[in-house]
Amino acid sequence: MAITMAQALNTALHDAMEADDKVVMFGEDVGTLGGVFRITDKLQERFGEKRCFDTPLAESGIVGTAIGMAMYGYKPVVEMQFDGFTYPAFEQIVSHLAKMPNRSRGTVQLPVVVRIPYGGGIGAVEHHSESPEAFFSHVAGLKIVSPGTPSDGYSLLRRAIDSPDPVIFFEPKRRYWLKEDAELPVTTEPFGTAVVRRQGTTATLLAYGPMVRTALDTAKAAEEEGWDLEVVDLRTLNPFDAKTVVASVAKTGHAVVIHEAQVFAGFGAEVAAQITERAFYDLEAPVLRVGGFDVPYPAAKLEEFFLPDTDRILDAVERSLSF
């Protein structure tokens, strides 16, 4: 059956709430409305206002109270309405959500999931298209997840809710309507397991979240050039599956990392460093990064010039191959 990413995520939330009555959901407009992207659609209707509720408009408040509820014994799954509005919650995420289990020597556990619809490509007004994953990947104590397919959307979100550690769950909003033939429930590999989405021999494209689809489209287009590209979907940025990444690069000798976020100090820099440290002699060219330019996320009519696309990726592959 064809399901969308949005349906997969909604079903995952539903099934998690059904499986465990400690799972509660809250955020801005997630109750009656079902979220601005409808990812929490019908959850309040099904599970009641106590377990799925609208909060005042305050992101730090949402994450801060989620921490308190988790200390009490609940498993809060909270929504940041958009990527660019996560920043008010930054202090609670960085100073408490990530650190409290460690500070408390393990006496406090915080099984909290912070869901963030992220990324551009939907023609949105400013602050609605950002990719802030690098900020959070830099924080010890958090797990960072970003699914690229509906199946992974379902399975990784279920795993995130079951995780005893706090998870920042980045949902690729431009792929909410991406379809896949799948039956729910579906179980894919655990956190820390990247997956080879397409086998290839010429070069490796490394992507996550919204760029997985773009990487696969690029690999298809590259066939015309006679290139057989391998596509690795990282799935979780932390834990990072160095093994799968290195195995792929060992095979192809060329690596191109792709994300929407600006390249400078982006997550791609970490991937490039991991490959360089672990597979230096397998490399036939430096690891190249393809991403947004090092400028603020642009106005909607200009985003197509900012975002990495097939052309920009193929250009990088060519530079790598001719190095």
């Binding site: 005042p56 994450v63 801060g64 921490i67 509820m69 100073s95 005893p164």
Partner: protein, 366 residues
Amino acid sequence: MAAAPLTPDPATLLPSLEPVQLLDNQGVLHEVDGYPLDLKDEDFRNLYRFMVLARRVDKQGINLQRQGQLGVYASLLGQEAAQVGGAYALDEQDWVFPSYREMGAALVRGVDPGKILQLFRGTWLSDHDPHATHFGLLSIPIATQALHAVGFAMGAKLDGKDLVVMSYFGDGATSEGDAHEAMNFAAVYDAPCVFYVQNNQYAISVPLSKQTKAPTIAHKAVGYGMPGYRCDGNDVLASYAVAKQAVERARAGEGPSLIEAITYRMEAHTTADDPTRYRTAEELAEWNARDPIARFETFLTKEGLLDDAFRAQIDDEAKAYAARMREEIYDAPHGDPLELFEHVYVEPPASYDEQRALLRRELEAQ
């Protein structure tokens, strides 16, 4: 057209113009309408005992810092009544979410002060079990703990548990966004929560007048739709009675309250601070004359509740506490470096194996 009545009626939320005071500066007890004292002799003695212990333990903290045993220490001197009175209004099942200055409240909750000091020694980031003591981790990022308190209270309410959460923070903290968000959330959800502000007049060097234009901190409560209370924070009986009222309100399902306990930080902000740069000796002397312990002592003596035997008993207990703190802190070794990798994740990433191995090699090479 007649204006519809406002709910809640703002007039019912306003704090009293004069702070509630039951014991005046001379230690004379005055009855105040609406704040009956439900304390037995044993409770009076206990309040005194906790205040004296807090002062002794606090002095030990300062001394340990001076001896180079603690990196820094934040004194509660002058705030014993506010801290002890507030926490004493809680029942066993209730919780406290403190800032970093709440040694007095910690004592009331049965937290070992030596454990609290491990943070200031730098042994570990925290060393007591919140679930065993119902006392949250010390929280240094200002006002952030108020949200944890509200979330905890929301959880308790959702779970149908009879449990009240008291969040301590300072006058400066009331300017932070998190304090605002916490009070707003608590009010919206009728969370069983008490916001207990110790207005000790300063946020490091910045006086309250530069912190807010509000008539008083307690008046801010009205904007959230919850009652505000002001009390003489150097009067342990007023601090207790006001807190008790707020706690009972929360327990009865009537929602949160905001308490402003007016007090004064007699010591520097922390041992690293020089208060002579921002406040006068006269001001200090003025507050010294309102000492919370001296006034309660006068009262207890008059009531025949404080005899030499009881004093000696507390003195012994205080000495034993201080000795134990010295024992636990003096030359306490830092923790096991390899523990750095524990407790960060329940399910740690594979990279921890490599990094742990690196640290182990470094340790072996020493």
